[in-house]
């Protein structure tokens, strides 16, 4: 049984279709990444999945329960890490977990028994009595993750779990999420960090303007959607050079500011050509998920 399946989901606000026919399903034990620029409809999709917003049409099954009809029952089997921290500032770490466990109807004795292990998992061992107000951003995120595990859920839903964290804190979150996957949990996460998706996710769906544009494993998407090699060309002369010449050597190229991105199957002829232009600096690398993402969603700024 899929921990979560979504079929033909639609949701409009004031005549604007924010989610425009989204379908996907999670396999047990996988990490599924929902990627997209700001405003793509990721958070609305998650809200619908949790039964916090009624969709206009489509069907959702979460933890075996139809949503929104039995969303409350479904949420009992799910842990959620929201995009913005909403820990209880009036409580210390242990109280945050205790009070949250009560919302699941778990008895105090069982919650108290789980707290030390959860805090240890969050790298907050011994901080039972520490006030939330003195925790760093990374510590708060980890405590929020621990809070989402208070009911020992089968499925974790994380909305941009590492946005705003420094690299150290981000790596620690990734390591913990991998541990949860190793324990057999299923994870659905949204992100706009491609390295995060590439590291963690077995399956990715790229969303834009309310639609899923492509789905697949990171490798499949890179192999199927884009040329395998990228040559980035920098310098004042790069845009002019690219407009005149890049088409001769590359299947596709894009110009962004003073950088030209050349997408090629074989980079050797292009690199040989560029070697004769000392004014242009180059970076040759394999194509990655970010290239796929930018190809599909464009380079324009999203607000």
């Amino acid at each position: 049984m899929a921990p979560l399946s979504v079929d033909s989901l639609r949701k409009s606000y004031a005549g604007r279709e924010v989610v425009a026919g989204v379908s996907f399903a999670l396999k047990p034990g996988e990490c599924f990444g929902l990627l997209g620029p700001n405003g793509a409809g990721k958070t609305t999709t998650l809200r619908c999945c949790l039964g916090l917003t009624a969709p206009d049409s489509g069907s959702i099954t979460l933890a075996g329960e139809p949503v929104p009809a039995r969303a409350r029952e479904a949420r009992a089997r799910v842990g959620v890490v929201p995009q913005f921290d909403n820990l209880d500032p009036d409580f210390n770490c242990a109280e945050n977990l205790l009070v949250y466990g009560r919302y699941f109807g778990i008895g105090d004795a069982l919650i108290r028994a789980r707290i030390p292990r959860l805090l240890e998992f969050a790298g907050l061992a011994g901080k039972e009595k520490t006030s939330i107000r003195v925790l760093s951003g990374g510590m708060k995120r980890r405590l929020t993750l621990a809070r989402a595990l208070i009911n020992d859920p089968d499925l974790l839903i994380l909305d941009e779990p590492t946005t705003g964290l420094d690299p150290q804190a981000r790596h620690l979150i990734w390591e913990r999420l991998k541990r949860l996957l190793a324990d057999g949990k299923t994870i659905l996460l949204t992100t706009h960090f491609m390295d995060e998706a590439e590291r963690l996710c077995q399956h990715i769906a790229i969303m834009d303007a309310g639609r899923i544009m492509v789905q697949g494993s990171p490798r499949e998407l890179i192999a199927g959607q884009i040329e395998p090699q990228v040559v980035e060309v920098y310098g004042e002369d790069a845009p002019g050079w690219a407009q005149a010449t890049a088409g001769q050597f590359s299947q596709r190229h894009e110009i962004s500011g003073e950088t030209a991105f050349c997408y090629v199957a074989d980079a050797a002829p292009l690199l040989a050509h560029l070697a004769q232009h000392p004014g242009l600096r180059t970076l040759h690398r394999p194509a990655n998920l970010e290239d796929v993402f930018l190809k599909l969603t464009g380079r324009e700024l999203r607000d």
């Binding site: 916090l52 409350r72 009992a76 909403n86 500032p89 009036d90 409580f91 009560r102 919302y103 009911n151």
Partner: protein, 260 residues
Amino acid sequence: MIAVPFRPQLTVRAFAVWRRNYLVWKKLAIPSVLGNLADPMIYLFGLGYGLGGLLPQVGGVPYIVFLAAGTVCASTMNAASFEALYSGFSRMHVQKTWEAIMNAPVSLDDVVAGELLWAAAKATLSGTAILAVVTALGFVHSPLALWALPAIFLTGLCFAAMGLIVTAVAPSYDFFMYYFTLLVTPMTLLSGVFFPVDQLPAAFQGAAQFLPLTHAVHLIRPLLQGQAPDAVWLHVAVLGAIAIVAFWIALALTRRRLLS
């Protein structure tokens, strides 16, 4: 779109929300109770003795005894209103506590019901604390005053539910000033807290009959003075009906705000 099934879906999970607020309050219980007592007691003694000294008996009793019952009612109203407005808004909008709770298997209806019961409980505590003080000072003699406790709770429920409507539509804390200035303050003056309603011009006396605080005063003041109130069930019904209707409206508005 207000596609709201208009039947509140309530479960016992509302008490988990209540307990959350109780746990926060418990940390600051003593200053909180003292804070709730200080302001009304200052008015009670200042006006009760200062102004009361100039007056003959009011409603057949010394003015401070008359005012004590009014103070119990007004404090209950204020405590319920402050909790439902300022504290409720903090939890709903600023701290996003309600959103966190709704990610657990707790419905918004349970959250709002938990807040309603919590604000009513805190108001009951506030009203009861003043009742205890005025009893200790010898202004209340009759055991009938015990019946004031459920009346205080009902008053708390009524004003908590009304406050939750305002919270549901508030863009910011500043908005609450309208509610206090345009509704709570005039109501305090029109409902017989400080002086008998029959001192008012006839039109205001008529208007006073539509104010929930008037009914709370009609219930609670006789009980504190050892008399059975007239038309008990009318006052109970008015307070109860306002509580139910206001809760229902608050729920519909909060659903529209948070679940659309």
